[in-house]
């Protein structure tokens, strides 16, 4: 039967793989299993096999594709420029269409609809906050339980969506912030740092009311039409802004791919998207944001895959941490996935845990109790495995603290 949707991996895309195998050692699942079928090259060949009619979208194919974390470490080392992340999403879209299991239908609804609905996220957050406060994690499904323990305290903070804030320096322009599906209710202090820093550098910050979830999780899981709908809504919501900032690496990576999800207008928007770490690092380099002279000791740097591999942003978080007075400590020269990988932690808890433990060991070996991670999923994974003795935070949060301290006062300029 081959492929049936417009999302399918194309012959041109797959032909960019010449099977050189340079991706293999960078693939976490290949490293764990030694299986060709668990390697990027193997997965691409499986996609080709379906395209050429040597194989079907059957259970074997589904397992080969679903075992992939989607970390895209392979893509960053591919000299043939194979668009692995794109064809993976294409293959998943085929699976979602040809193999619509109950779990996949549920995910289509959760990732494609519920996350884009503010009321649903609020209700889920309220329930989660109660569970968290009561310590009643036993009522959660086993697969979710560990990730849940990595959540920050779900305090009843106000949301950023729909707000705007004026600059507190020479005006530089206007920046629009992606509120995100769970960033706003669960990680609002990251937004607080982002908004505070942008204002301090001279940006007026707007968090457009009409925006929705970026659609990354839906896209990665193969729910293409939902992902397209979310992309279109965001393109409209963010129209007219010169700078669009996201402070979750998974979101900024996905927004940068809107050219695929929302056509030419999406492409035009994608060109204006930056991850917060890129923006802040540049503002520090330009002297618009200060450097701290106060040494704060070591910080272990965890590179989110969708920052380092998908966006190739490596130096920016380190620059920011240095400006905060920290001494960045490298934990893994290959920057292998921590196993969180969006929904993977829930769908494949065993593999996720194994990779998470490796990452946690690397952090422990680095000898720092502060860990910087620029993505919420990685943060939860690390916190759940490192325990309360370690502090896991976004680099801009750590930097914002330093900036506030340098100013010698609580930041009155941040109106809440």
């Amino acid at each position: 039967m081959g492929y049936v949707t417009a999302e399918a991996p194309t012959r041109v895309e797959l032909a960019t793989c010449v099977q050189c195998g340079l991706c293999l050692p960078h693939c976490p699942t290949f490293r764990l299993t030694g299986l060709e079928t668990a390697s990027p090259r193997g997965r691409l060949m499986a996609m080709s096999a379906v395209l050429e009619g040597f194989a079907e979208v059957d259970d074997v194919f589904v397992e080969i594709i679903d075992f992939c974390l989607g970390c895209r470490a392979c893509e960053a080392v591919c000299p043939g420029l194979t668009p692995y992340g794109r064809v993976l999403e294409g293959a998943r879209a085929e699976i979602a269409t040809q193999h619509p299991t109950p779990s996949r239908r549920l995910r289509r609804w959760v990732l494609g609809r519920a996350l884009a609905t503010r009321g649903f996220v609020s209700a889920a957050t309220a329930v989660a906050a109660v569970v968290q406060r009561l310590g009643a994690t036993w009522i959660l499904p086993a697969a979710v339980r560990r990730s849940f323990t990595g959540l920050r305290p779900l305090a009843g903070r106000e949301r950023w969506i729909g707000r705007s804030a004026e600059p507190v320096a020479d005006p530089l322009g206007t920046a629009a912030l992606l509120a995100g599906c769970v960033m706003d209710p669960w990680f609002s202090s990251v937004h607080e740092a982002t908004v505070g820093l942008l204002r301090r550098a001279g940006y007026r910050v707007v968090v457009p009311e009409a925006q929705t979830c970026c659609g990354a999780l839906a896209a990665h899981d193969g729910h293409a039409s939902e992902a397209r709908r979310m992309a279109r809504r965001n393109v409209a919501a963010f129209a007219g802004f010169d700078l669009i900032v996201a402070d979750a690496a998974g979101c900024s990576a996905h927004l940068k791919e809107y050219g695929h999800w929302a056509g030419d207008v999406g492409g035009a928007m994608a060109e204006r998207v930056r991850d917060v770490t890129e923006v802040v690092a540049e503002l520090i380099a330009d002297g618009r944001l200060p450097r701290s002279e106060l040494p704060r000791g070591p910080v272990a740097v965890q590179d989110p895959c969708h920052l380092r591999h998908a966006q190739r942003v490596v130096e920016a978080p380190r620059t920011i941490l240095r400006a905060a007075g920290y001494e960045p400590v490298e934990i893994d020269q290959d920057a292998m996935c921590c196993g969180a990988a969006g929904t993977y932690a829930i769908l494949r808890p065993d593999t996720s845990l194994e990779l998470g433990r490796r990452k946690a060991d690397q952090v422990r070996a680095a000898g720092s109790t502060v860990v910087a991670s620029a993505n919420p999923g990685c943060e939860m994974q690390l916190r759940s495995l490192l325990g309360p003795a370690y502090r896991v935070a976004h680099p801009v949060e750590l930097y914002w603290e330093a900036v506030v301290e340098m100013a010698g006062r609580v930041p009155a300029e941040v109106d809440r």
Binding site: V18, A55, V60, P79, L81
Partner: protein, 472 residues
């Protein structure tokens, strides 16, 4: 019981793959050939490998070892079905003996992982194929792999001190060891480079080389391929053996630069990457000699890598070249041949001529220092007749190199690719001698059959008597 059932009995279901798609994925390496796989087995111990070999013998099927599948000559591609023994899970480093500068490793250890593990001792594994970040020690041993730094250090055979090998009857043979000069017949030299046709390596004792105290890496830009090639001959003629001396032509440089963004000169006809290692005064002096020779041959620019980061970036570019060609066309085919360094200039000219004659884009990246060419021909396999045209051009390339006094293969092995070209190099007596060794190790011909030696290598295949003195 079926072959698959027996293997599952030994390894469990997780380490035996037999679905259609699994077998399809293991049916190919990094080259252009696709083979036929019956079942894939992933052993973790020597005993399991021995048992797999016995099971295969019982069922009368071939056994084909496979490492990371980065080979280009079809060495790991089973031609007539059989058990593919993937050694990727045998990736343990058993011992690093820093004092004796050697290590016992499993065949599935990745080349670069070994060097990383040896780094704290100031040591590394010298053979560094372009695929070193992915390829395995087992594959290096099987193919006697080389790499840029083999110019000064020699290829894998110079770095193997001992081997543990599973033989055709499942017995485990250990040859060599830490003693510098093992007594008896030195079987290591026969096993290294035998491409899985004589046995399966289950452990290797490899030499580790001290990291050089200092290094200089030069990127030299030329306006003609001839000038670059003449510089290579000139450097060697000046009495230098640089640690590495690599050439890339313009198309190749453009593809690599497009991916890497290392600031490589994309308008240059050719670039040379030259590296010298040793004590600081020595590397300074050698770098000066290279600069002088290059300048004499109209080098346009000579850039010295400022630091380790820039040096690493330049090498990353060189070692990613094969993958980068995917930007130019969906398929590529390359030949790994050798010519004497003194013939580089005219051979390169003829290489491009062959490309033109067959209407094939030719890209070149190679170990110029030892005359080891890698002409890559770009094509689209889905285009009817393209592959045949490529093979015809490829055969002509090999003939050209042999005619110019070179050899069939520099480092990638013979595999299936050059099997039928062996007669260009070897007399019937040579081939018969090799075939008799194969027969001694593998009387039933079940280890990686139809590889390396062409049909009819054995003299009695023609009904002729064995020539006197052909072997022992």
């Amino acid at each position: 019981m079926s072959l698959q059932t027996d293997l599952i009995g030994l390894l469990g279901t997780d380490r035996v793959l037999a679905s259609g798609l699994d077998r399809y994925l293991y049916g190919k390496d990094a080259g252009v050939y696709r083979g036929e796989v019956t079942v894939v087995a992933l052993p973790e111990t020597t005993e399991e490998v021995a048992e797999i070999v016995r099971i295969a013998a019982r069922h009368g099927v071939p056994v084909v070892p496979r490492g990371a599948g980065t080979g280009l000559a079809g060495g790991a591609v089973p031609l007539g079905g059989g058990v593919v023994v993937a050694t990727t899970r045998m990736n343990q480093i058993f011992e690093i003996d820093a004092a004796n500068r050697c290590a016992w490793v499993g065949p599935g250890v990745i080349n670069l992982d070994l060097s990383r593990a040896a780094e704290p001792y100031g040591l590394h594994f010298a053979p560094d194929p372009s695929s070193q970040s992915a390829c395995t020690i087992g594959g290096n041993v099987a193919n006697n792999s080389g790499g840029p730094h083999c110019l000064a250090e020699g290829s894998t055979v110079n770095h193997v001190l001992g081997l543990e090998v599973v033989l055709a009857d499942g017995d485990v043979l250990v040859v060599g060891g830490k003693a510098p000069d093992p007594i008896g017949l030195d079987l290591r030299g026969i096993l290294v480079g035998s491409e899985g046709t004589l046995g399966i390596v289950t452990k290797a004792l490899v030499r580790l080389t001290p990291n050089p105290p200092d290094v200089r890496t030069l990127l030299i830009t030329f306006d003609s391929v001839e000038d670059a090639a003449a510089t290579v001959s000139g450097v060697i003629a000046a009495g230098l053996v640089p640690a590495a001396l690599e050439m890339m032509d313009q198309r190749m440089t453009q593809a690599v630069e497009n991916w890497l963004g290392a600031g490589l000169p994309t308008d240059a006809a050719a670039i040379l990457l030259a590296e010298v290692t040793g004590d600081t005064p020595a590397v300074e002096a050698e770098a000066d000699v290279i600069r002088a020779v290059a300048t004499e041959h109209r080098a346009r620019e000579i850039r010295l890598a400022r630091d380790e980061a820039e040096r690493a970036l330049l090498w990353k570019g060189r070692k990613s070249a094969f993958g980068a060609v995917a930007q130019a066309a969906p398929d590529y085919y390359l030949h790994d041949t050798v010519v004497p360094r003194t013939k580089l200039v005219e051979t390169m000219r003829e290489v491009y001529e062959i490309g033109e004659r067959y209407g094939l884009t030719m890209m070149n990246v190679f170990h110029a220092g030892d005359g080891n060419l890698h002409p890559l021909m770009m094509f689209d396999a889905s285009e009817p007749g393209a592959l045949e045209r490529v093979h015809a051009a490829a055969d002509e390339l090999v003939e050209l190199c042999v005619r110019n006094g070179g050899v069939l293969s520099g480092e990638h092995g013979i595999g299936k690719e050059k099997r039928d070209l062996m007669h260009l190099m070897f007399t019937p007596v040579d081939l018969d001698a090799q075939a008799r060794i194969k027969e001694a190790f593998d009387p039933e011909g079940r280890f990686n059959p139809e590889k390396v030696l062409p049909a009819g290598s054995r003299c009695f295949d023609f009904g002729r008597p064995i020539p006197e003195g052909a072997w022992i």
